[in-house]
């Protein structure tokens, strides 16, 4: 294998593919490497931990086709460090030689035939509106669980809903639901569970104007954005029946300016330490936020709001509440409640394509 390319483009490609490379390779040492395939002037770089695979195409000045696996982190560090300009790479069966400016590096390569065969993306391709999808990911993925002991909840449900696509995630303390009406990506009644980690990686590479293509296989999904391909294993299993959790009617409804609430929560939560909750006292015309941490101090702030219902105090984990307010977006939002123990609903006024359901903290 032999090619030349610009250092900057090579660095970006190695960085992207490297994001799927797990630290020390785990059970398969070869997975600590980045897989390079050169055909003509096209270099494809691939990193994988078997659950997530990121593959990047880069146009180079190819001289000799070939396949190689380089230690991912070291290769990325070298290419980041060398002088800007042209980089030349030559790989034989034992070593890779990289020269840039007056620097010369020789690296032992990892035997390429040990790199696992990765699933071929399905031929069925559907286009997704990248701007909308990226926005939906921003809203939904934070609610997915990071707790590997409940694998189902580490995924984001993508399901056909009416004539569109719905994304759902929950860590069992809050639930995020976003509808993308008119986005006919899945067949009706079809749903898949995509690891949120993979979607977060996708969101990193997704620009607003990019074309996004989804190829859905039986056990995996591939997202194509320009020269980048993100393939992810799908999570097997049934997502919880979240529909039954969303209360159909909420007697209490608070309407408040989102930025004002966001700022107040950010201030008051400074005194909600050591997992003490933030109390929201909802009354006519005003929302009071109170945080008290024993032996530390307390904070309170009033925010103008309109409230329809019976005066009520509900306590929330400040981080969960803040996250909900942030991702809901819009100028005005509503917080609907039943009582201090039932789930509360955050929505944006004038839009019903997103909801954030949040369980209170019980204080007794």
């Amino acid at each position: 294998m032999k090619f030349r390319c610009e250092r900057e483009a090579f660095e970006r490609a190695l960085g992207l593919a490297g994001r799927a490379v797990s630290g020390r390779g785990g059970a398969l040492p070869v997975l600590s490497g980045v897989h390079l395939v050169l055909e003509g002037d096209t270099l494809r770089l691939t990193g994988s931990d078997l659950d997530l695979t990121i593959s990047v195409e880069l146009t180079v000045a190819g001289e000799q086709d070939g396949v190689a696996v380089l230690p991912a982190k070291l290769a990325a560090d070298i290419v980041r460090a060398v002088a800007d300009g042209k980089v030349e790479m030559t790989v034989d069966s034992e070593e890779a030689h990289l020269s840039a400016g007056r620097s010369e590096f020789s690296l032992r390569v990892i035997p390429a035939d040990e790199f696992p065969q990765l699933p071929e993306p399905s031929a069925d391709a559907v286009k997704i509106d990248a701007t909308e999808f990226k926005d939906a990911l921003r809203q939904v993925t934070p609610a997915a669980s990071a707790d590997d002991s409940r694998p189902i909840l580490t995924g984001v449900l993508m399901a056909a809903e009416d004539d569109g696509l719905r994304l759902v995630a929950t860590d069992s303390y809050r639930l995020s639901v976003r509808d993308l009406p008119g986005s006919t990506v899945l067949a009706s009644d079809q749903s898949v569970l995509v690891p949120s980690r993979s979607l977060n990686e996708l969101a990193r590479v997704l620009g607003d104007d990019d074309d996004l293509t989804l190829r859905l296989g039986e056990h995996d999904a591939t997202f194509e954005v320009g020269a980048v391909r993100v393939t992810t294993r799908l999570i097997e299993g049934d997502f919880p029946n979240y529909r039954g959790l969303i209360p159909s009617s909420q007697p209490n409804k608070l309407t408040v300016n989102r930025e004002a609430l966001l700022d107040a929560v950010r201030r008051v939560r400074l005194l909600a330490q050591e997992s003490t909750p933030l109390r929201l006292i909802m009354k006519d015309g005003v929302l009071e936020l109170v945080a008290v941490t024993q032996d530390v101090g307390q904070a309170q702030e009033a925010v103008d709001a309109s409230f329809d219902g019976a005066e009520l105090t509900v306590a929330f984990n400040p981080e969960y509440l803040l996250n909900g307010i942030e991702v809901t977006g819009g100028e005005e939002i509503t917080l609907e409640t039943v009582d201090e123990l039932k789930p509360a609903l955050l929505r944006r006024v004038g839009s019903d394509d997103y909801l954030y359901l949040l369980m209170p903290v019980r204080v007794s």
């Binding site: 303390y173 003490t276 123990l341 789930p343 019980r362 007794s364």
Partner: protein, 437 residues
């Protein structure tokens, strides 16, 4: 206390039994006898046997020769030349003590250890589950004997200091003819506190040393009753504000000191040794359901929740493994604990034979403030259900309600808390007499 002229009205005294004082019998010596069964029946002295050593503990046989703790070992040897002297092993005693305190904490979180072998318990909140305090005292004595092979004496009273006094009366006694077993449990009946207390010599009062005794004798005080009948002001002027008031109140059976647990429990767990090794996953799963339910019930009773769920498995060959998993938010419901325990158990092969299974929750936090979970809703309004369960249990006992998978025909096989926690029931009664009902 504004009135200082005479004894206050009885209404000021707590009127029901709630305090247990548990004191191990000849603790160090008894622990040594477990390791040296060949010495049973012989006078055994634990302590420094060197020139300046002192006796740390003496078996009741040794006490029959007049040996007692804090006596110079040289003198003990003169009193009983054939006594067996053992050097102490504090680390071992502390380990046994830790297990004893765990037993006590399984009845109530309100355990105040006074030393390695002595503790106060406030069992007021435990009576609904375990019965009246004298019954709890019996359960504790039996469990300590069955699990550790050690005996203890228990004083039961409405206040701390009376419970401690009562323990002495329950103790085994040394006599020239050898040890005489005590009653094991001594109860000061509510309402009978003064009757019990007043005939006792004033030196029995906690905090009365030789100097104080001399001062009191100058006032003509010989019994506790004498002291109680003096005006409080007289006692205070003789003994000073602090001690005078304190002793006068004690003499009137007023002791407002609460049992102060020196540490919050670090974990709550239930484990069970099976009578025969178990190989079937399904059967063991039923045990998991039972244990998760028991642990959750105890967590909620103590108003605690925990982040980490542990599973303990001891195999037929005593090889023991523990596995744990931590959740982001603390849990206190049966289903949540069960879910974690099952997840851990799924990774274990019971085929070689499981001798012991245990489920525990650690990383405990205040359970009163808890992030609610959607699981609570999905598990059929489990939040409401658990409070109903807790209500039912507190009214009708632990076995009144339990998970459906534990239901056998006609009864719930719900293990009463504490039963079988440390091993299968013994087929025969223990050799050591435990006090009668």
């Amino acid at each position: 206390m504004a009135d200082s002229s005479g004894p206050p009205a009885t209404a000021d005294r707590p009127d029901r039994l709630r305090i247990l004082h548990v004191d191990m019998d000849a603790f160090y010596a008894s622990v040594e006898l477990l390791r040296h069964p060949e010495l049973r029946g012989q006078p055994v002295v634990v302590g420094g046997s060197a020139e300046r050593g002192v006796v740390a503990a003496a078996s009741y046989e040794a006490r029959s020769f007049g040996i007692h703790s804090a006596m110079p070992s040289v003198r003990a040897k003169r009193l009983c030349p054939h006594a067996v002297f053992l050097s102490g092993d504090h680390a071992h005693y502390a380990e046994v003590s830790g297990r004893l305190m765990e037993i006590l904490r399984s009845y109530t979180p309100l355990v105040e250890p006074l030393s390695l072998d002595e503790a106060f318990l406030d069992v007021d909140g435990a009576r609904r589950v375990y019965g009246e305090p004298p019954r709890i005292a019996r359960l504790i004595r039996r469990q300590i004997y069955e699990q550790e092979g050690l005996t203890c004496s228990v004083g039961v009273a409405s206040i701390k200091f009376l419970a401690k006094l009562a323990t002495d009366q329950a103790k085994p006694k040394a006599s020239p003819a050898g040890p005489v077993f005590g009653s094991g449990i001594s109860v000061v009946a509510p309402g009978g506190e003064l009757e019990y207390l007043h005939p006792l010599p004033v030196r029995s009062l906690w905090g009365v040393g030789p100097k104080t005794l001399a001062k009191l004798e100058r006032l003509g005080v010989l019994t506790i009753g004498d002291l109680a009948r003096l005006p409080q002001a007289t006692v205070i002027s003789a003994l000073g504000e602090g001690q005078g008031r304190h002793l006068w109140l004690l003499a009137n059976a007023i002791d407002e000191r609460e049992v102060e647990p020196d540490q919050a429990p670090k974990s709550i767990s239930h484990e069970e040794t099976f009578a025969t090794d178990r190989h079937d996953r399904a059967g063991l799963d039923v045990e998991l359901v039972r244990m998760a339910d028991a642990v959750s019930s105890r967590l909620r009773r103590h108003q605690l929740a925990g982040r980490t769920v542990q599973l303990k498995v001891r195999f037929h060959d005593f090889h023991t493994i523990t596995r744990s998993v931590s959740a982001r938010e603390p849990v206190d419901t049966g289903p949540a604990i069960l879910r974690a325990a099952r997840q851990l158990f799924d990774q274990i092969d019971p085929a070689p034979g499981v001798r012991l299974l245990g489920v525990g929750v650690s990383g405990l936090v205040d359970g009163a403030v808890r992030q609610l979970s959607l699981d609570d809703l999905m598990e059929q309004d489990w939040t409401q259900a658990t409070s109903t369960i807790d209500d039912i249990r507190s009214r009708f006992g632990e076995a009144a309600i339990g998970p459906a998978s534990l239901a056998a025909s006609g009864e719930l096989k719900l293990r009463r808390l504490g039963d079988q926690q440390w091993g299968p029931d013994r087929p025969s009664t223990p050799a050591e007499p435990i006090d009668g009902e």
